[in-house]
Symmetry: C2
Subunit: 270 residues, 2 copies
Amino acid sequence: MNVRLAIVGTGLVGASVGLAAKRAGVPHVGGIDADPDALALAVARGAVDLAATSIEATVADAQLVVIATPVATIRGLAADALGSNTTCTVTDVGSTKATICAALERESRFVGGHPLVGSETQGPAQASAELFDDSPWFLTPHVSTDPERYRLVQEFVGALGADTVEIEPTAHDRLVALVSHLPHALANLLVNQVGAAAESAAPASLRDMTRVAGANPRVWVDIFLDNAEALVDVLGEHRRRVEELEEALRRGDPGALTAWIDEAALKRPR
Amino acid sequence: MNVRLAIVGTGLVGASVGLAAKRAGVPHVGGIDADPDALALAVARGAVDLAATSIEATVADAQLVVIATPVATIRGLAADALGSNTTCTVTDVGSTKATICAALERESRFVGGHPLVGSETQGPAQASAELFDDSPWFLTPHVSTDPERYRLVQEFVGALGADTVEIEPTAHDRLVALVSHLPHALANLLVNQVGAAAESAAPASLRDMTRVAGANPRVWVDIFLDNAEALVDVLGEHRRRVEELEEALRRGDPGALTAWIDEAALKRPR
């Protein structure tokens, strides 16, 4: 794909965007990161062709800018990029969308985005050109988003190997609270409760369920706080379901337990 | 290991005991299963040398009998084996131990056991000689257990490749409620709550966390009911922890969330 690309934030996701873009034939990728080591490693890995030293320099020649920094910093950096280069299209990879898209709702050149590739790793060392292959990548255009800009981002996301899922920003946040933030929160809760008991006895199921626990506090605290309302809702619903299970166990009710497991067998993602 | 072995119940775990025993040089393995197809498949796979048609015939010549049936049936079958062959040692692989060991507390030839190899599969088709390698295998001797019988079972478990963990039956049930039954229950709860939302968007973390969901209702309903009291305790503690998280999210408290994730990073089983 022939587009001049700039990446702001060359951690795991940003550097993977660079590698997947190079795989898709993107001729030039500029990049910047607050951490000079992360930026140097992204260059060394071939994810970034040119390391810049300022946001202005990074986006100066770009047609498409991808903001791949922690969610709390995205709207400020997106506004900087849009202000500094008055023709480029800007998208992001933040795990929450309502706050960011509301802050940028007048920007016709901004298209909110979120690749669903949650990982327990971080940093450009773990980056991969294949990270997005066949994974969902949410795009959350708002009312003022220019359709041409949307199509550019959609084409780019497809070129990276991902499947575009178009969704309204608030609906996105409710969906990821359920399919991503709730499982992540349960992994942390489970690890903290099990604690030292897992030292003598950690079955494979427990290791699988807690693989993401403890990952990237700097990233996840932002995500949890930014999506706090939706996450509180799904956690409340979870507690109600736990109470129902406790009641079935107290009653010694095999029918209720069988129905509950059968429902899970039907609904399990494969 | 030179012991005449009989296996009652040739599903995933029973047939794997047979395969691992053959690997360890056990010369003769007799077997029986309520399901003739499961028994025939265990024979075809080499897990059982001789298929029997009655419990009496199965255990007649055995020095060691392993009961590998669903937990609700174990104490009855163990009593049958002990009554039918007055010299053999009997052990089991049930996921709960307090009820079974209490029912057999006068039997000096019974040693409660539980290999921690929870799996989402079932049946002898999935059996493997390697299933127990480097996994914990709980042994729960009771007051009247003969030390010589205990040593035989301990040697056998080691020959199968597992690591013996000796623990009191009630302590065992509290431990597995936490490290095995709670994660399993959370996988089911999570799948049932996420439901159809996972169809458009199932991140790898969600798939990992729900791998065991919906598995083997016939086996798990028994386990959950037999360990209901301990499981209700850990589920109540889980709900208290979920409420604490909800409160931190409502307060918008980054310090509490960071401490919570940092604790998980320290405690995560590796």
